[in-house]
Amino acid sequence: MSKRFRTHLVAGALAVAGALASLSGVAAQTVKVGVIGQFTGPYALAGKQLRESIDAYVAQYGTKSGSQTIEFVYKDIGGSNPALAKSLAEQLIVKDGVSILTGFFLSPEAAAVAPVINETKTPSVLSVAASPPLLKMSPWFVRAGQNLWQPAIIQADFAADNGKKRAYIAVADYAPGHDVQEAFTKRFKERGGEIVAADRIPLNTVDFAAFAERIANAKPDIVATFLPNGAPAIGFFNALAARGVTKTAMIIGIAETDDPDLPSYNDNIIGVYTSIFYAGGLTNPENVALKKVMAEKFGANHAIGVNNVSPYDGIRLIYRMVEVQKGKFDPDAAMTAVKGFSWNSPSGPKQIDPDTREMIHNIYVRQVQKVDGKLTNVLVKTYEKVGVPKL
């Protein structure tokens, strides 16, 4: 009795969902894409960049892909709130009838959504979330940005390539920081380097002088770091410069000196390296085109950040997923279409690893220099086709 009742209930629920899905399917072959973003709150900048990228892509390529029209539905998380992300994902799928999800700035948001997309078979494009284990949580995830291990490995490679032997790791004390620490440590040791010390800096730190002092005392020749953009990164680099570490050691971060953030720094930042999948100075035609459309839409002074580029690539993947659709949205076909897919993005040649659904792409090492009186990320070395290593 109870089992039969249960079956009925589930069947009923699925019928409702099916009806809704077909309803939305009828609407002139429109595929709805749910965008879960940080449009307000402390990460509002990332939300703004996400929206800009979608607008730019649509401005360049229109809303049609293959025979179908794409429609975006936006939902705001407004801070660190994975449970809300999950609730929004359910809402988007059940109520708004979206077939694909994207957005996902913070990794926990994606982790929270994984069971939902597993149950509903909803392909989901991670536009920024970079936590290494995410893709194992759902076969429906595909990464448009980086896996944090990639830039961390390149930090270590670049240091080793430049003959550095004594590394000090200073990362923010949260999961992404821990990931960077893990990958860097492994790779740097493999390359024959020594980790002189590792600090996990509490996120509530205001005055970073204590950490700069610890680092200076350890006399490393390279400092690998990863801190949230904004006040923490600025405070940390200022403290390093004040203590003279910037002069005595190579300092290499990941996304701290991203182009949009660069105006917040003063000259203390000059000389700092970062390792990431985009460099504003790239001259490939895709990047030139992107810069042009961004300047047209958002003004000549608009700086493109990494959080513009990977969501933009994410939209490319979504268009690819839609392109192969014939009639009713087929999630399996969508996933097949992106596995192994390769194209040229503003950030260089891209390929989705068919097995892991991770991005295989270039990682660029950039250095902050003063060019024409302006702080600029200058590309110093390109590591090509970096996949995700096994740690």
């Binding site: 402390p42 509002a44 900048l45 703004k48 004390d173 600090d199 996990r200 800096i201 509490p202 996120l203 509530n204 730190t205 205001v206 005055d207 002088a209 204590a210 950490f211 002092e213 610890r214 005392n217 904004g230 006040a231 600025i234 405070g235 200022n238 410069a241 004040a242 003279g244 949009p260 953030d261 105006p263 917040s264 720094y265 003063n266 000259d267 203390n268």
Partner: protein, 292 residues
């Protein structure tokens, strides 16, 4: 041994200078809270406005930094006169809860406005280049900025001491902190005193916001981000006690710096544990328990 000596001088110099910044942004609230017993959670908003104003003056109007600090401080003091007459005046007699809510509301409005006007990013530093230089002190290179902050802090301490001891305003203030109704009875215009003290407090916050940039970068969420540390100083130093406010600020700076230096991984806890233990230790017969 060398390690110990260098650690101790480091903690002394950096802890004290950090403490001085905390002192600068908190002392205004210590004064107004002592006088008016208003739980003003928007105090950090005045600091943020002062800092933003100073930065904007330097970057957009090419004003000299030190002059901009003065202009920003005075402007915020004037602004706060209006806010005090218009808004704060009405909550002096309301419950603690009302005060908390109204001032959180003002802080929210400030955050939203700063975000609207200046964008969500950290605004770039406009501290003059001379402050980035270093001088040798106690056998180590110390950034000029740290010494500058300490100097400003000491100047404020001396100025406040002078105001409180040598001026009529200060005498009235002291009387009113002790007992407002008695001061009123003694012919002191307490209402006017409140307004002036509020302007003084807010102006000091603005000064802290402008001068403290090197350690507390300006961003829209500033009013909330540093609120906890401001409130810690106020709660620990008691109502209106400036001497203990200075001592507590420096203690907080030193404890925090030393904590992060020696136990970097547990640095996040140390300051909170310090606060909890300190306040709980005060339970019996503490002036903090006094209900206004």
């Amino acid at each position: 041994m060398d390690y110990l000596v260098s650690s101790l001088t480091f903690i002394a110099i950096y802890g004290v200078s950090y403490g001085m910044v905390i002192f600068l942004i908190s002392i205004g609230l210590v004064i107004t809270m002592g006088l008016m017993r208003v739980i003003n959670l928007a105090h950090g908003a005045f600091a943020a406005i002062g800092g933003y104003l100073c930065t904007a003056l330097v970057s957009s109007y090419k004003l000299n930094f030190y002059l901009a600090v003065v202009v920003a401080t005075l402007s915020v003091a004037v602004l706060s006169l209006i806010v005090e007459r218009g808004i704060y005046r009405q909550i002096y007699r309301k419950s603690e809860l009302d005060q908390v809510l109204l001032t959180i509301g003002l802080a929210f409005i400030t955050v939203a406005s700063l975000n609207f006007l200046f964008g969500p990013n950290v605004v770039p530093s406009q501290l003059p280049a001379t402050l980035s230089g270093t001088v040798e002190l106690l056998g180590r290179d110390v950034q000029m900025y740290r010494l500058f902050v300490v100097a400003v802090g000491l100047a404020v301490v001396v100025a406040l001491w002078a105001i409180f001891n040598w001026t009529m305003f200060g005498a009235g203030l002291r009387a009113a902190v002790d007992n407002p109704s008695m001061a009123q009875a003694a012919g002191i215009d307490v209402s006017r005193l409140f307004t002036l003290a509020f302007a003084l407090g807010s102006g000091l916050a603005a000064l802290g916001g402008a001068v403290g940039y090197g350690m507390l970068p300006l961003e829209p969420l500033y009013p909330f981000k540093y609120l906890i540390i401001i409130m810690i100083v106020v709660a620990l130093s008691g109502f209106g006690n400036m001497r203990s406010a200075a001592a507590i600020s420096i203690a907080v700076g030193v404890v925090d710096t030393a904590g992060r230096y020696f136990f970097p991984t547990y640095g996040a806890f140390i300051i909170y544990v310090f606060v909890i233990l300190y306040l709980l230790a005060q339970i019996e017969g503490s002036p903090l328990r006094r209900k206004s």
